[in-house]
Symmetry: C2
């Protein structure tokens, strides 16, 4: 089922865009062509599970009043009409796992038939067809067992699931692997640059991580340490998370503060050895831009991983307080990101224990963070990644 | 009217926040205290003109059906109820000009009574009171002559208007001065890093500027040249702007492409010597993230200045095409930004001519870009800055 090499394909998947015609990337397209016949640089995957992103699942559940049949019908209709699982309201997708079925002769991805993989590009740009009516899904969680196929382009990213780690753990790690990779790169550069030397007596940059007890936060802390951080300050929203973060020894100092309160969070970080040379935002609630900016030293860097980040709040916020800080949009792709994250989880048993405990919490109707006791829409660690 | 030094003030202006109470920065506050009595680190300015940002003015005009009395009433009500000119719908403000009236003994801003200044922080965080009912404003443009006073905090930013340049020109330059300053910094670093050496035979980084014929785009091009760019590629939406850009010699190559079409814009930039080591986005329409990312070389940098930038589109867009690019939120504050921009406009007569021609277009009911002939919501140069 490989097409003739004379047919033209694009490593970006432009040849799979059906609507609208012309110049639109697959992610922005309304409809993709999920035809199982692959072009020479493509890979076809036999899908066994979709991992919907948290924002999409929540929207679907609310729109269908929590009725499992209604939510199943909604997901099937999206996939059938769009040729991909992209929630039209949230625009987001998720990721999938499956087994490589066929590899085009010109595919640069290095995969072979039989490889068990997870996609590291969003479902929102991945051609997908489902053949089992999602009969195995209870409609109660983002984890969707399914049968069908998906297409990877020349420039798609996928990771072979390692044999030495449980699949749910690998998925949880891969879901957030861009954060530790970029944190590692930025902290390494700051250390080489001499940031933090003499700043409170440290021998490397001061790194603050908002949401350190979450998945991307804890891995980013481990990556910061490996990148040469002198002092790591972890911020968590309440004492319960502080206990977990301290037990996992994620940071040199763990402080409790509301990341949406710029004065409180910057005072807490300054009190623990800040301001930070590098601040990493891993808290998935809106309104954390000001606190991150105020917590960062002049000439320092803020990395925004939270998808709740507002571009204008960050841009105008820094200008409004005359803060000379470099602000990075957290790119989910850094070469080697999957390997680095998997290495970290193998090397850091305490971080792994934290992941394991979160994964153990998952079966059954998942407790959503905003259903927890405490203030409404409490800052929380990242939920299910960003794709 | 200076308060006692024993009263506590905050360089961020927290002491001026009335609603909500506690921990909110002035920009996020619903209501500020515009009391003319200053704290020791503050400055009071006698205001003579407000410069509403384009997005705010457009919203106000549309909401009031274009009736000048209605729009004047709306602005007065906002200022009276909020103690600042922050459009509650758009969240944006603008800037102001005036004369320094009183300087607190502890003000770090270096201003003295009688200085004629423009604020470089947004009106959305500047305490303001108006005393003339805006009687001198025709309600037809963003330029609002007015009488009243405003307060600058210890960490506010203001520029003394230079004596050798017309005020409208200085204002237009200062309105976008963060863009050339950050472009200069990033291009300088890329040049020192050896980017672009040997890349097509150039001797410095390749810099692409989307929206090069606009205010921030043309100044950024001049700043890129000064920072050591080897090749500058300017992108404009139509031939009319290409003529202006070529006449001003803003770039080595000027290409016409729709910045919202990732395939078209990246092909145009590659055809002119790209991909770019540094891509600068100065086009104020949504949907330019993908094109900027695809136009940038691996390891390169994208600077997003457009306030229409979507954080999620940038983050997921780069990940979706496995692009290892650094993406910067265009911080409007870089130390020395006002001076650099004014220096550039003095040193580059062709850029100045471009500014002059845009300023000359302004009197009377201003022609809005989307009232121009051509496709609706056409990509355009930045209109009235971002504050």
């Amino acid at each position: 089922m490989t097409r003739s090499i004379s047919e033209l394909s694009s490593p970006l998947g432009l040849h799979r865009v059906i609507e609208p015609a012309g110049g639109v990337l697959p992610q922005a397209a309304w409809r993709l062509d999920p035809d199982p016949a692959i072009w020479p640089d493509e890979v076809r995957v036999r899908v066994d599970r979709l991992n919907l992103d948290a924002a999409s699942f929540r929207q679907l559940r609310e729109a269908s009043g929590g009725d499992p049949d209604a939510i199943r019908t909604a997901v099937l209709e999206i996939i059938a009409s769009r040729g991909k699982m992209q929630n039209p309201v949230t625009g987001s997708g998720g990721m999938l796992t499956g087994v490589v079925d066929e590899v085009g002769s010109g595919s640069p991805l290095g995969l072979k038939p039989g490889d068990r993989i997870a996609t590291l590009v969003s479902l929102s740009l991945t051609p997908l067809a489902v053949t089992d009516g999602l009969a195995g899904w209870d409609g109660q969680s983002e984890q969707v067992p399914c049968a069908g196929h998906a297409i990877l382009f020349g420039r798609s990213i996928a990771a072979v699931l390692p044999g030495d780690l449980p699949v749910p753990l690998s998925l949880a790690v891969l879901d957030v692997c861009g954060a530790p990779a970029l944190t590692h790169r930025v902290v390494t550069a700051a250390a080489l640059d001499g940031r933090g030397a003499g700043n409170g007596g440290g021998t490397g940059p001061v790194v603050a991580i908002l949401g350190v007890a979450g998945k991307s936060g804890s891995l980013s802390a481990a990556a910061a340490r490996r990148g040469g951080a002198g002092t790591i300050i972890g911020v968590v929203p309440h004492e319960q998370e502080a206990v977990a973060a301290r037990r996992a020894r994620l940071a040199d100092h763990v402080v409790v503060a509301d990341a949406r309160d710029p004065v409180a969070v910057s005072a807490a970080i300054r009190g623990a050895g800040g301001p930070a040379d590098v601040t990493v935002v891993c808290v998935d609630v809106p309104g954390c831009e000001g606190g991150a900016i105020l917590s960062t030293a002049e000439g320092g860097t803020v990395i925004f991983f939270s998808m709740a980040t507002s571009f204008t709040a960050a841009a105008l916020g820094a200008e409004g307080v005359a803060a000379d800080v470099t602000m990075l949009v957290g790119n989910g792709y850094v070469p080697g990101h999957a390997q680095l994250a998997l290495d970290l989880i193998r090397a850091e048993p305490r971080v792994r224990a934290l992941f394991d405990s979160r994964i153990d919490e998952q079966p059954g109707p998942k407790q959503e963070p905003d259903e927890q006791p405490g203030p409404k829409q409490e800052p929380r660690e990242d939920g299910d990644g960003r794709r």
